[in-house]
């Protein structure tokens, strides 16, 4: 047994941290709420190779395991980077047998989005707001096509959410329900990884403030109410990290475990990130409640992500059903 990142993965994480720290930030997420462009943006992600991590090498990707992508996604989540690597991971699964499209995914020449729900008026879908080519499930068939985009007023602008109605469609795989399901499980794992990064950063910011801010003659982190709130948030992040790693590992090495593991990770991510972001605001008091402070940007991401790709209730239900059916 060896349940830890290896040296390669640690190097990947360090590289990703450096890239994202220089190219994205909560400030950019704030600007996005007033019309600013996503940061680092699709092109930058393509140029550094992150969009193609799990795309096969024949299609110009790196052909690496999902765990590598999850490690990168965590670093992106920490600075609320956009667009999400969720789409890259999910589309890579869907396009595994369509190398010419996979190549456009990896090199960023086409802006893909994957549509949740009906292709005739989809549910809010990640990074669909500025996508040009859409993947969807149309009566069991995997289709690709162009579409009419209806964005909503953003709560978290970094997610680029929009509903889409396909205006053209081409079947690229029939009887694709199983492939589609697997792609969605992979997407859930990557979103959980991004949430892990966001939650981890939120706790770190809260801890740092509690170490400095004083009230009633003591640093506020010395008060049990503040200390225990942060400890619970931190402990939740550590639990989430284990589930994310397990689920990503399962996608690569134990596909039979992926359905349960991905649902466990996504369910845990929803509540863990929400608590971490809420704790970040509460620990900061008034300043944490201002537009200029970064806290609400983590909070916004958490409030939106908890509902995307299946909310906690959906995934808890799935975990129970799968476990009872023998997956545990």
């Amino acid at each position: 047994m060896n349940f830890d990142l290896d040296t390669d993965q640690r190097d990947i994480a360090a590289g990703a941290r450096e890239f994202f720290t220089g190219s994205a930030s909560p400030a950019a997420a704030r600007a996005g709420l007033e019309g600013g462009a996503p940061a680092p943006g699709r092109k930058a992600l393509a140029d550094i190779g992150f969009l193609g991590i799990t795309v096969p090498e024949v299609a110009g990707g790196s052909g690496r395991p999902l765990l590598d992508l999850a490690v990168v996604a965590e670093q992106g989540g920490a600075v609320l980077a956009a667009p999400s690597l969720v789409t890259a991971a999910r589309a890579a699964v869907l396009l595994a047998d369509v190398p010419e499209l996979a190549a456009q995914l990896a090199d960023g020449t086409t802006a893909f989005a994957v549509l949740d729900g009906s292709v005739d008026g989809s549910a809010p879908s990640i990074d669909a707001a500025d996508a040009t080519l859409f993947l969807g499930l149309d009566g069991g068939d995997l289709v690709v096509g162009e579409g009419e985009i209806v964005p909503g007023r953003p709560l978290d602008a970094t997610r680029g959410l929009a509903s889409v109605r396909l205006t053209s469609r081409r079947v690229i795989a029939s009887d694709a329900a199983e492939l589609w399901a697997r792609a969605r499980q992979v997407a859930a794992v990557v979103m959980a990884a991004e949430d892990l990064g966001g939650a981890d950063r939120a706790v770190a910011l809260g801890v740092a403030y509690a170490q400095e801010r004083e009230a009633f003659g003591r640093r506020i982190g010395s008060y049990q109410a503040v200390k225990h709130m942060l400890v619970d948030a931190w402990a939740g992040v550590e639990q989430l990290r284990s589930l994310v790693w397990w689920a990503a590992w399962a996608a690569d090495s134990a596909p039979a475990e992926l359905p349960l593991a991905s649902s466990a990770a996504k369910a845990c991510a929803a509540s863990t990130f929400e608590r971490a972001a809420g704790t970040l605001i509460q620990v900061h008091g008034g300043i944490g409640f201002t537009w200029e402070h970064d806290a609400h940007l983590f909070w916004r991401r958490a409030k939106v992500d908890r509902l995307l790709l299946g909310d906690e209730a959906e995934h808890l239900d799935a975990v129970a059903r799968l476990a009872v059916a023998g997956a545990l």
């Binding site: 007023r153 953003p154 008060y223 300043i287 909070w299």
Partner: protein, 406 residues
């Protein structure tokens, strides 16, 4: 036990209702679906509305007659509030003045101050704000750093306040300052009435996480305040402030008023949205709605108990903090259930129809668990003052303030 009006109360309610009908043409009214009015945009109409109501005897109901009030009961005040809501008249522009500043002037002001300010306050001839919080002193209010230095017959004020509701339209404010940094933190404070139009006062809107600016920052740059505008003795500012703060906690949820959206709005929303959910989702949604309704009703009826005690002559006590805690928690449950009922639209800041009530409330609640006493501070108050649990050891109460500063 009785939730109905007594005969006296019924008579009073009828009179209030009559008066509101009689003056309907002179009052602002909320449009259907509208929840409030922005003082930035409708200041004149809001001032006029309050003046009309004051002249009809419906403002300052519980204030003593000698200060322009009606010497009425808290129940009468509650009746007026209910009837105003029923008639869709928006909240009064001077609610801070009426609920917090006025009572502080009554309790601690000179006769001259009372004469000059109170009647005008009730008529919204002057709008008031409360200038306590500072960037470096939130929960620990007594750590404030805005200074007032005596200079002849005046005091000269420098510093910054924050989270000031209505500062941008206010004419006066009650201002807590440090006048003696060598004394322990609570002992070196002094309260003043400050003219918000005085030279050196500047106001900047403070944007909240939800995007709107309900509050302001206020900067004081060598602002001169005559000594006659002192409220209470020098060094007694903390005691004066406690009067204001206790009134604040009663105002925020302490008497069972809903915080955030009323639970009836959630029930109506559920009536619309539940049928669209699939069966399993309906089961879960009913749990969430039921939980929110129970919490909201528990907070509401607990408020009624407190109101009953007050109307029988009880004194507002630290129990009001429990009301705020409970109302905050209920508001969270109501808002979260409401957001989730939106289904796919919950991930946006508004529905496709432009309704942003649920998401806006969701983004406003984190502030409610902070403003007017954080959840943690309220629990300390309740533990120590209601349950009689021992306080934490503190060193900052006795050390000179200047020594304790970072």
């Amino acid at each position: 036990m009785d939730f109905d009006d007594s005969p006296d109360e019924a008579t009073y309610r009828a009179r209030v209702r009559d008066l509101l009908e009689q003056h309907a043409g002179e009052l602002l009214h909320l449009a259907p679906g509208q929840e409030g009015v922005d003082a930035r945009r409708h200041e004149p109409e809001m001032r006029r509305t309050q003046r009309v109501l004051a002249e009809a005897g419906l403002v300052g109901v519980t204030w003593p007659r000698e200060y322009g009030g009606r010497g009425g009961t808290l129940v009468q005040q509650a009746i007026v509030a209910q009837e105003l809501a029923r008639a869709r008249v928006p909240g009064l522009i001077n609610h801070i003045g009426i609920g917090m500043c006025g009572p502080t002037v009554i309790a601690h002001g000179s006769q001259d101050q009372r004469d000059r300010y109170l009647a005008r306050l009730l008529r919204a001839d002057d709008v008031w704000c409360q200038l306590f919080s500072e960037p470096a002193s939130g929960s620990d209010l007594a750590a404030l750093r805005t200074t007032a230095v005596r200079d002849g017959e005046d005091w000269v004020v420098n510093g910054q306040k924050v989270w000031t509701t209505l500062a941008h339209v206010a004419d006066f404010g009650i201002l807590l300052t440090r006048t003696d940094p060598e004394r322990p933190k609570h002992a070196g404070l002094t309260m003043f009435v400050v003219d918000m139009h005085a030279p050196g006062v500047s106001v900047r809107p403070l944007r909240q996480m939800g995007g709107q600016a309900d509050f302001n920052e206020v900067f004081f740059d060598d602002v001169r305040i005559p000594d006659s505008e002192r409220l209470g003795e020098p060094g007694e500012g903390w005691r004066v402030a406690l009067t204001t703060l206790m009134n604040e906690r009663v105002a925020i949820g302490g008497a069972g008023g809903d915080i955030g959206l009323p639970v009836e709005a959630l029930v109506e929303h559920a009536r619309d949205r539940l049928p669209a959910l699939d069966g399993d989702r309906q089961v879960l949604a009913r749990q969430a709605v039921g939980r929110a309704v129970v919490a909201a009703l528990a907070a509401r009826y607990t408020g009624y108990r407190r109101l009953t005690v007050l109307s029988q002559g009880g004194i507002p006590g630290p129990e009001a903090s429990a009301g705020k805690l409970a109302a905050t928690e209920a508001a969270r449950l109501v808002a979260d259930a409401g957001v989730r009922l939106l289904g796919d639209e919950a991930v946006y800041a508004a529905t496709s129809g432009g309704d942003d009530r649920w998401q806006r409330t969701q983004a406003w609640l984190p502030g409610i668990a902070i403003a007017g006493g954080t959840d943690q501070v309220l629990r300390n108050i309740l533990g120590e003052r209601v349950l009689g649990l021992p306080p934490e050891p503190r060193s900052d109460k006795t050390a000179p303030f200047s020594g304790g500063r970072r």
